[in-house]
Subunit: 454 residues, 2 copies
């Protein structure tokens, strides 16, 4: 309450923007803490054989509102006095308590936008690594796996939450949408680790995960737009599916048309960073268009990545995007973790039990809804169907995108939001060991030479 009072006082008396050198200091301090948490969490997770992205999320949880309260945001109702970073800044700099609220608000705004740029750049990179041709090669099997893997968990999750748990439609649809994601990054990484990336199962999983990325983003755009209007209208759904599809198809068609011009333009330019900046201009323009036509900015950057992946500049661009993604993407994951109040999942408090029960339900649907997809694979003999389904389980960064967008939209109750994060964490945790188990169980004839280090 005191924080809110200070904030009121600051906004009414200080019309001048907050002291920019102190805002910069607060941002530098926040970035330092974010990077530290992301690397510490990532390295620790990697060492116990879990995906580093989970560590970044957990690092965020630890420095965020659930634990240390180093990195907190005003949107959660917190004031400047709740933030340890702001207290540290007041102790070490010339920041006065009166100016603190303005600096806190401004620095939080900057970190939030950096985090949103992080997910825009992440989806640009995922688009760049995706390959429409690859999907065509692994054929109709991957398409069926992807569609069933989106439809089954979405329907089971949404209907279950509405009819079994009595949730309103909007949060139920959001939770259902979060269940549709598949993390292409985590899946591909685990398959590479167990040397199964080029197996038939591996190819189907990767193909389906690529398609799932596209379907998932359209689902997310549809759901996010529904949340904004506040109700489910069939015409609205149809409009959004058409506009999302038209946007992606239009962007790809436009990109193919402009592709040769883009390559010629970049080749003709001689200043430093020309490839990266021309590509980012394209990504930001599409992200802006997607944002203002009520879709999500990430859909635009993903489409831009897909389009530029088709040009001869792909590998060169991928190389240059990596360091940029390395510094922006962790801000997103750590902020998602930091904004998650895991306190609502504390079973000691009776009112929290609802969140835990929702989480348990979501986790069961998340696993069963993806595992069954393996058994839809047709026309292939001697295939490890269980492994295909298990390969689709991890929600990873894509699931976190859903959780982050849902949380930012304000449509989710804290317990539903925390339940989704819990589902993402658990599916991502469980998939790597599970994949190893199911691959070993049915395929005992692993070639010994595959294990010799190259």
């Amino acid at each position: 309450m005191e924080g809110i009072f200070l904030f009121l006082a600051a906004t009414t008396t200080d019309i001048e923007p907050a002291d920019s050198s102190l805002v910069l200091a607060a941002v530098l301090l926040s970035l330092t803490v974010i990077y530290f948490a992301s690397k510490l969490g990532g390295e620790l997770c990697l060492r116990i054989n879990l995906p580093p992205v989970l560590g970044e999320l957990l690092g965020g949880v630890i420095i965020g509102v659930s634990a240390l309260k180093l990195l907190i945001f005003p949107s959660g109702g917190a004031g400047v006095d709740d933030s340890l970073i702001m207290s540290f800044l007041q102790a070490t700099s010339s920041l006065t308590p009166e100016a603190g609220a303005g600096v806190f608000t401004a620095a939080s705004e900057v970190i939030s936008v950096l985090s949103e740029l992080g997910v825009i750049i992440l989806l640009f990179e995922i688009g760049l690594e995706s390959n429409l041709q690859e999907l065509i090669k692994v054929g109709p099997q991957a398409a069926v796996v992807a569609v069933v893997g989106v439809a089954a968990p979405f329907l089971a999750g949404t209907l279950g939450l509405v009819y079994l748990f009595g949730l309103p439609v909007i949060p139920a649809v959001f939770a259902g949408a979060a269940l549709t994601a598949t993390s292409i990054g985590i899946t591909a990484k685990v398959l590479a680790e167990i040397d199964r990336l080029s197996s038939t199962e591996g190819q189907i999983i990767i193909g389906a995960a690529v398609l799932d990325d596209i379907l998932g983003i359209i689902v997310l755009a549809v759901v996010a737009s529904l949340v904004k209007t506040g109700e489910v209208q069939i015409s609205q759904v149809v409009y959004l599916i058409i506009s999302a599809s038209a946007f992606v198809v239009g962007a790809i068609a436009l990109g193919r048309f402009l592709g040769p011009f883009y390559v010629k333009l970049v080749n003709g330019m001689k200043t430093r960073g020309q490839l990266l900046l021309v590509s980012l201009i394209f990504a930001f323009v599409l992200a802006y268009i997607a944002q203002v036509i009520q879709l999500e900015a990430i859909l635009g950057s993903f489409a831009a990545g897909l389009v530029l992946a088709e040009t001869e500049k792909r590998s060169q661009l991928e190389e240059q995007v990596i360091p940029v993604a390395d510094i922006f993407v962790p801000i997103f994951f750590v902020c998602v973790g930091a904004k998650t109040d895991l306190g609502v999942l504390n079973p000691a408090i009776p009112s929290n039990r609802e969140g835990l029960i929702i989480a348990s339900f979501l986790i069961v649907v998340a696993i069963v809804g993806k595992v069954i997809t393996g058994f839809t694979v047709f026309g292939k003999e001697n295939i490890n169907r269980l492994a295909v389904g298990v390969g689709m389980i991890p929600r990873g960064e894509v699931g976190l995108v859903f959780a982050g967008v849902g949380s930012a939209s304000g449509a989710l109750s804290p317990s539903t939001n925390a339940a989704i994060i819990m589902m993402v964490i658990l599916t991502t945790f469980l998939a790597p060991p599970l994949l190893r188990v199911v691959f070993k169980e049915q395929n005992v004839d692993v070639k010994p030479q595959a294990k010799i280090p190259e």
Copy 2:
């Protein structure tokens, strides 16, 4: 006035932060315009044989307050209605005029911080490219050139402005400080273009420019701190020189001590981007310390770059910093240009003539003050002394850093600020053609094979 009224209304009635999706849209639009202006300006300048960085500045001038008014900032007294980007956003999105002021303030804050991160990363990169050993090799000649090249223009500029033009001490000191800079980037690039980088003259120029970078940043830190306290106190000057020197020396000593630990840490880490993020944590911590002990954040990142340049990770890190610098640094140059109101240099308005006269004086001091340094070179026969002096003329990005910090501090009158920018632009424009002339004049025995393309 209407803009200010709206801003007042928005801050008193809307306690909630501005709609984050519209702030993101405004930031995406601003970044698109910034990147477009930087590349268009850079490419055009390169084609007429001028440094691209000048083009970025001029691109900023064109999209900024002086011309198109696409990218403007509230700090200049402008309101949301003056910004073409905000008008475009209102026309294409759901942004209402009432919410416009809040979105404008928040997006401008984000762009300003991104621009400050840009100069922090630029100085980190310059530090990384600098080499303390190199300086020792070219010996005392480079040191004398650097010291004279800082002292002569600073004293002549400051004293001239105070006694000939009657300026107050603070802006005179700031303008004098801006005269001390030498752009190592532009100088090195021009020397490489005319194949003189490894000549004795070239080595002295580069060595002196490296030292000049360090001296210039200390001068800038001293001056910026003086501006904050509002008066020139000898004890304050001594304290600042000592703390700046102690900071740089301490950072380097600490860096040498921690260097092996840093290399071991980075080698031991296995997650993506570990080298870049550990290095940026180091740079941001030093930048934060420099910022809160009343120096400038850029001094910290420069020291971090110098220190990490001494480790075996240098070339790998340099490679990864390039794309990051490519996307951050143009934001700084374009914003410096966009914030510069060249209108005050319009000679048609009588009250503007003061700025033009100051600019002419600064340009003469800027050129003469550096050209004389060549004649301080001792113990070397058959040396092109004029070329050494001319090589020190371009102020480039370092001069713009001074202008930007001066402008942000509020100590400079618009005419003095514009005069400094004018001086930076002209010295940077003039140096490349001048360098070619003086090198050709005295050294007619250019080896013909040096001109054959490799």
